[in-house]
């Protein structure tokens, strides 16, 4: 396992997997547009909607990140400081949105804001913008204000878990004596000063990292924009909708420019954001001896009533869209009388597949096939890439290890749509036979998932005590026996987490699948939901069928989430 070939093959396969489609796509787009990627950014205005999309993308991503912090920080603070009953359940409820497929999130928010939904019934009509929201929209002069608010709320809902994952462990495991010591100093007597001069420096990098990651996910949001703010374009959604016409010489050069310039701009922004987050995390390399979270919480005690109400509201906010989506699958609107009735009719339609190319069981089988394929490719490749990096670190070759580490992170700077377009324009136009290959979606899913596998397994490998390896040698085991009997069992919890998350990610992946799935027989659950929602709503069951399909997808994802949570360590934060 330590031979040069053993190291270079998986790394070469992985780099080939992520670089070849992107390089081929770039080559084609440069040829068609006659511009290099940077020039293409400055020619974006040749597409009638591009500049508007760029502007909206930056504004909504920044506002979404700020709103997420505003909602998430108090929750992370309460969760990390106080002794909560059933903290595991609270954490799981607050994390759930982040593992929810974006299509499910979109359906959940539609169920929340739709006519006849809870928000509309209390006078907050974000969908049709009547009443208070309509007045607000008119007074600010912003069209479709309700849709923008819904989008920002959905982004905050989706990314809430990021703030909690980054910030809460830092609060929960910091030894109380640090704060106690600070309180004894003259500057530490005022709570505001403690916040400014103690907690902010302690939590700064986690908060900024959470901001950056929320910004990134909102920047590349597609399903939520498509369904909650359909009048607006982000770079991602515009590329997805228009991208099919790109890369054809002499035809719609503006679209090729949009994809080349848009993807380059998006790639640069994401790389810069990831670089900044990495730098902040590195800056915080000073080591603080952490304590068990139970110990730290015990010293602060139990939450008061206000904090309990706050936490209950947060959990309700996290769960309500999902609950309402499930409810909307059995609540059928009567178009003539505008009343509602309860029925499981939509579920029957969903399972029969009368209105779509594929039925729910067929789409589920497709989704599972792609998810298992993604699991195998991403986990095997991710394992060996992490093993290579770790092995190079151990053999005192930090520069090479760091280079491969950085390269392994590259797909994090690519969105689902970018990867889908990369495969479409890069590989398929060079090798069109792939168009008819059923397993094709495994390729983009694996490209997007492998970096997460590396990020889960690499720290775990670093944590394994070298004593175990030496004990195996002393017992006479050769390197293969040590690998299978010692290393794999030691990594098992992390491998289970990586496998469950890979499958969950693949099941919910929308952007790349939406671009690449060209045959109804290949439809996955998220694409099926989108297909249903795109149909004219003349038939009252269309939306409930989409909700039922999304509910099936949600249940599958949550099952994997529960498996991952059982094995995941909560110390340390991050992913």
């Amino acid at each position: 396992m330590r031979s040069a070939v053993g190291h270079s093959v998986p790394v070469a396969v992985y780099l080939g997997l992520i670089l070849i489609p992107v390089v081929l796509a770039l080559d084609r787009l440069v040829f068609v547009t006659g511009s290099n990627p940077i020039e293409a950014i400055f020619r974006l205005d040749e597409h009638p909607l591009a500049l508007e999309a760029v502007q909206f993308t930056f504004i909504q991503a920044t506002l979404s990140a700020l709103l997420t912090l505003a909602i998430g920080l108090p929750i992370a603070w309460w969760l990390g400081r106080y002794e909560w009953k059933h903290i595991g359940l609270i954490r799981a409820a607050l994390t759930l949105p982040f593992v929810t497929p974006t299509v499910v999130a979109a359906m959940g928010f539609l169920a929340l804001i739709n006519q006849g939904g809870i928000l509309a019934s209390i006078g907050i009509d974000l969908r049709n913008e009547t009443g208070f929201i309509g007045s607000l929209s008119a007074s600010l002069g912003i069209e479709n204000m309700g849709h923008i608010i819904a989008l920002l709320l959905a982004h905050a809902w989706f990314n809430l878990a990021l703030v909690i994952r980054f910030v809460e462990p830092k609060i929960a495991t910091l030894p109380p004596r640090y704060e106690d010591a600070f309180r004894m100093l003259p500057v530490g007597t005022s709570p505001l000063e403690r916040l400014r001069r103690f907690w902010w420096p302690m939590l700064r990098t986690s908060i900024l990292s959470a901001f950056v990651f929320t910004f990134i996910f909102s920047f590349t949001s597609f399903a939520l924009v498509r369904w909650l703010a359909p009048e607006y374009w982000t770079i991602e959604s515009l590329m997805a909708i228009e991208g099919g016409a790109a890369g054809i010489p002499g035809y719609r050069e503006d679209v090729s420019l949009l994809v080349l310039g848009g993807a380059t701009l998006q790639g640069i922004v994401l790389l810069m954001a990831l670089g900044m987050a990495g730098k902040w995390q590195q800056k915080q390399s000073y080591e603080i001896e952490l304590v068990s979270e139970h110990y730290a919480r015990k010293t602060i005690g139990k939450p008061n009533l206000l904090q309990k109400i706050g936490m209950f509201s947060a959990c309700t906010f996290a769960l309500a869209p999902l609950f309402l989506m499930t409810l909307a699958s059995v609540r059928i609107r009567d178009r003539t009388s505008d009343s509602y009735r309860w029925s499981t009719e939509a579920w029957r339609y969903a399972f029969d597949g009368n209105l779509t190319y594929a039925s729910v069981p067929e789409a589920l089988m497709n989704s599972l096939f792609y998810a298992i394929g993604c699991l195998l490719v991403a986990c095997i490749l991710g394992f060996f890439v992490a093993q290579t990096i770790h092995s190079l670190e151990e053999r005192n070759k930090p520069k090479l290890a760091q280079t491969i580490d950085v390269l392994s992170m590259l797909p994090l700077a690519l969105s689902g749509v970018m990867v889908g377009l990369g495969v479409l324009l890069g590989i398929l136009k060079v090798w069109p036979a792939l168009f008819s290959w059923y397993a094709l979606p495994i390729l983009p899913h694996s490209m997007l998932t492998t970096p997460f596998v590396v990020r889960i397994l690499l720290p775990a490998m670093r944590e394994i005590d070298s004593d175990y390896e030496e004990a195996g040698k002393i017992l006479g085991y050769n390197q293969y026996q040590r690998f299978f009997r010692i290393k794999i069992p030691l990594l098992k919890p992390h491998l289970v987490v990586a496998a469950a998350l890979s499958m969950a990610f693949s099941l919910g992946e929308f952007g790349a699948s939406w671009i690449l799935l060209r045959s109804g027989a290949w439809d996955t659950l998220p694409v099926l939901v989108d297909q249903l929602m795109s149909r004219p709503k003349y038939f009252q069951l269309i939306e409930p069928i989409a909700m039922a399909t999304a509910t099936v997808l949600m249940c599958m994802t949550f099952l994997l989430f529960v498996i991952a949570e059982r094995f995941r360590s909560h110390q340390g934060g991050g992913f």
Binding site: D465, D467, Y468, E470, A471, K473, I474, L475, G476, Y477, N478, Q481, R485, I486, P489, L490, K492
Partner: protein, 214 residues
């Protein structure tokens, strides 16, 4: 027969840790090496075991030169300062690591040695529930079941309290003697060295002409 080490040199970059070291062990002999922390005792054991690369020198075990052999082929057992038990297995699972294949399992032998070491009834306990002394006993059983040609004891009792240390030191000596396994025990505790060793040598006696090493 036994162990012969001649002109052994080990270097970490510029630091010459072991300098022309010489040591001979008769078959079935237990030698206790006494020396202060950081003098190179652990490095010596790791080099004999094959976990540490040597610069020059000869290591001969039962008449066979082993210094070029990989660690897993040397047939040496070793107890580290901190007991290394695999967290994903219970006590019995850890002990059965002594056998490479399931078909080699000898449960009569396992049960007998567990009884001898006072671990009967603890087969299915998780390793976190073991005391320090019990954990070292499990590691010792596992090492003995591999039928080693030589046992290396790297201060395995240093984390235990004095009474328990003495008790387990007697047990280790008795079990090694009953099986005729030669051993090198390194420690900085003279009393422990006296209990385990047939012979006690001081670290600086092993490196002639290097009295100022420490």
């Amino acid at each position: 027969m036994g162990l012969v080490i001649d002109q052994l040199n080990v270097r970490f970059d510029e630091h010459h840790v072991i300098h022309d070291l010489q040591l001979e062990l008769a078959s079935e002999e237990i030698v206790a090496i006494l020396g202060p922390s950081g003098c190179g005792k652990t490095t010596l054991l790791r080099t004999i075991a094959g976990l540490q690369t040597q610069e020059t020198g000869i290591i001969q075990l039962n008449g066979v030169r082993i210094e070029q052999q990989s660690c897993e082929l040397r047939g040496i057992g070793m107890l580290f300062q901190r007991p290394v038990l695999f967290p994903f297995k219970d006590v019995l699972g850890n002990i059965l690591f002594a056998y490479k294949r399931k078909r080699d399992w000898n449960m009569d032998e396992v049960n007998a040695i567990m009884n001898e070491m006072g671990l009967e009834g603890k087969e299915h306990q998780t390793i976190e529930t073991l005391s320090g002394g019990e954990a070292q006993r499990v590691v010792l059983i596992r090492a003995l079941l591999t039928n080693p040609n030589l046992m290396l004891l790297d201060e395995p009792l240093s984390a235990l309290d004095v009474d328990l240390r003495r008790k387990i030191a007697h047990e280790i000596r008795s079990i090694l003697k009953s099986r005729g396994i030669p051993a090198i025990h390194v420690t900085h505790d003279p009393a422990e060295a006296e209990i385990i060793g047939d012979r006690v040598v001081h670290w600086n006696e092993l490196q002639p002409g290097d009295d100022d090493e420490e």
